[in-house]
Structures are given as C-alpha cells and as structure tokens.
C-alpha cells in the first residue's frame, strides 16, 4: 500500500496542467468528429492521405495531436518515478528490477488507459467498424508506448531534448514518407507490419532503457 501511495504521490504532480491539456484535447477531439474526416479510423491511428492532400502529415494532424497530448499528459512523471533518488529506501534495499518493472507497468497502463478511453468514445460516436477502431487504438496506444520509451532514454541519459527529438523524428518520418507508411499498413505475415515493427522496437527499447537504468547513479 505504501509503495503504491509513493507511486501516486510522484505521478499526480502537475494535475492542473494536465487538466488544461485535457480540455484542449477534448476540443480537438470534438473537431475531429465534426470535421468530416473518416472517423472509422481511430483518432490516433495514422492514415494514408486523401488524394487531394499534398503530404501524409496533413492527413495525420489528429494522430500527431493524439501522440503529443499523450506524451505531454505524462509530464515525465513515470520517468521521474524511475530515476528519483530515494536514498532512504535504497540505503536499505538496492534499487533493482522491480523499480524498472514498475515503470514499465505504469507507462503501459497509462497508454492502455489513454487509448482505451478514446476508443470508448469512438465506439460510442461511430457505430460502424468497431474492429477497425480497436485495431487503430491498439496501434496508437502501442506507438505512444514506444515514444514514451524513447523519451525515457533521453531522460535517463540526462539528455532530454535528444529523447524528444528522436521520438519526434521516428514518428514523423513514416508519416511523411508514403512508401514506408504503405509498407507499415501491409500484412504479408498475417499481421500488419506496424505490429511487428512496434514489437521489435518495444523489445529493443526496453532492453536499452534497462541498460541505462542500471547505470543511472542515485543523484
């Protein structure tokens, strides 16, 4: 119970800012559902551009907004939880794998919740294509998790701007480069290429994060 309250204490900081972000995002979501976009594709899921649009970025502004707000709402609190120098605890019990697994669980649960709430909204608003919406929500939530893990690498490496830059580049490149986007949407193995790509990235990023975490000094 105490460990749980300790987590909550760290995560809840910045709730005022979070509320402001949520209100802005609600307005953006309302605009999404009233803008005439194809709402059968989940708001956070990347989509191939309409023929009249000059680039993939333009048709993915809502997906970008989903990721930006998703990252912003975390306010780096899970990263803070991971790296906070709890000297009174660590002098009694060395910091170890449970702390890292706790971080993974927090970020995973957050991405699930963030995408899940919006999936519930989407299922309520859009009556058709529940399967397509669910697949889109899985992809969007999973992508958010990958971005959070990339950003955390920057945090642990004490170079946060690079973490954000790397996450942004990794996300924007497929949206800007159409052949890559099309490849991600293909399913030659029975599952979409994006799921394989995200799976590989997640595994690699978890290993990289743990390696950095192990080296992180308690300062």
């Amino acid at each position: 119970m105490m460990a749980w309250r300790r987590i909550v204490q760290i995560l809840r900081e910045g709730n005022g800012l979070r509320l402001m972000l949520v209100l802005m995002y609600v307005a953006m979501t309302y605009r999404f559902y009233t803008s005439g976009q194809d709402c059968r594709i989940f708001i956070g899921m990347f989509r191939a551009p309409e023929s009249y649009m000059p680039s993939g970025l333009e048709s993915n502004l809502y997906a970008i907004g989903f990721m930006v707000v998703g990252v912003a709402l975390m306010l780096e609190r899970p990263s803070e939880y991971l790296s906070i120098p709890e000297t009174m605890v660590y002098v009694r019990r060395p910091r170890g794998l449970p702390r890292f697994l706790g971080y993974c669980a927090i970020v995973g649960a957050y991405c699930l919740f963030y995408a899940g709430v919006q999936l519930a909204v989407a299922l309520h608003v859009v009556y058709a294509s529940p399967k397509q919406l669910m697949i889109g929500a899985v992809c969007a939530g999973w992508t958010l998790l990958v971005l959070a893990l990339i950003i955390n690498l920057g945090y642990l490496g004490r170079n946060r701007p690079y973490g954000y830059l790397a996450a942004m580049v990794l996300y924007i490149v497929p949206l800007s480069y159409m052949p890559l986007m099309r490849w991600l949407l293909e399913s030659p193995l029975g599952v979409p290429n994006w799921s394989v790509t995200l799976g590989v990235l997640t595994a690699a990023l978890i290993v990289a994060n743990y390696a950095l975490f192990e080296r992180l000094e308690i300062i």
Partner: protein, 211 residues
Amino acid sequence: MYITIDHASKTIKNKQVLRDVSAGFERGRIYGVVGPNGSGKTMLLRAICGFIRLDAGTVTMNGEPVVFNRKLPDSVGVIIENPGFVLSETGMQNLEYLAGINKDFDQEETERLLRLFDLLDHADAKVKSYSLGMRQKLAIVQALMEHQHLIVLDEPTNGLDQESVAMFLEEMRRQRDRGATVIIASHHFDELNQIADYCYAMRDGVLRAED
C-alpha cells in the same frame, strides 16, 4: 578502520567533484565534513553509500567493498538532501514502511526517538501536515531507528530550531557511545565543532583534515 576511502575520484559533467580523496572513519566516532556549497560533501556521502560509481579509487565498509547500487556491507542510516516521505501517509506509517524493508522495526526505539524530537504526538498525523522542521526530524528518526552501525547525515540540522539542534547533538553523542560511526556534512562548523571527534574540510572536491 571501519570505513576506508582510498584515492576516490569522480567527475560529473566535466566537473571533478571528488579529487583523489582518501580518508578513514573508525567505529564509535563522530566525523564532521565542512565545506561550502558545491564543494563535494554530498558526493562524498553518496560515494560512502554506494550511490555513485567512482571513476577511480575504492570505498570499503567493515572490510568489504562498497559497490554501486548493491547491498551495503553493513546497516546504514542516511539523510541526503530532501527526505522523500510519502506525504499522504502518517509519520509512523512512513517509519514502519522503511524499517519494514529489512524487517527491522523496533517500536520502542522508534518511539523513544519520536519522543526525543517532540514528534510522538504527531506520529499519527499525515506527513503533508508536517512543517519543514518536523519532516527533517522525522528524517533523523528514520536514520537512527534501526540501530544502524553507520549514520550518514547531510545538513541534518536544516530547518531545526535551537532546541531541536541541541537534542540532535545530544543524540549524536549517544549514538557514538553505543558504537555507531557518525558522519555529518554541514555548513555549520560551530555545530560540528561541539560534537565531532574529527573534522574534515572539503573544497573543490579535495578533502583535508581540519585542525
């Protein structure tokens, strides 16, 4: 020697925070480390507790090496920078949690310390209702409540009133008399001077014996 620091060096962000530091700390003694902000006092304490990886040199405790983020060879009580209590829990619950990590909760000793620092009546209040001084006193209690063999305190009298400082100094003497090694880093040379058996001065990462 109970604690031996042998030619320890550490550089962080191109700044050498420990420069070839060597020192020894015996059992049943109080050691003071004085120095200005940024002189490396806190980093020295972190090195003793195994919170940092040294670039060179070693720290041994009770004859065993202190390794970064590994179980310490002996029991250590510590205050380094802001104590991270769970604010929504009571003072006593925080202490029970910390002592529970190594299943070493001594109710009698904890109550004695809480009474000494005038916290016993507030032990069942949530820490968020505590003043800065009360939180600092609670931090001191957690550093002592398990009869730790080594007590490492960074600026322990921050936020304490004169009466509490006097209590603290008296308690440190008591800890020394029971055989604990106490290392205190502080700006307040006058306070350290009252209790320390031996003082070190730290400046720019260099540790020197103080006359």
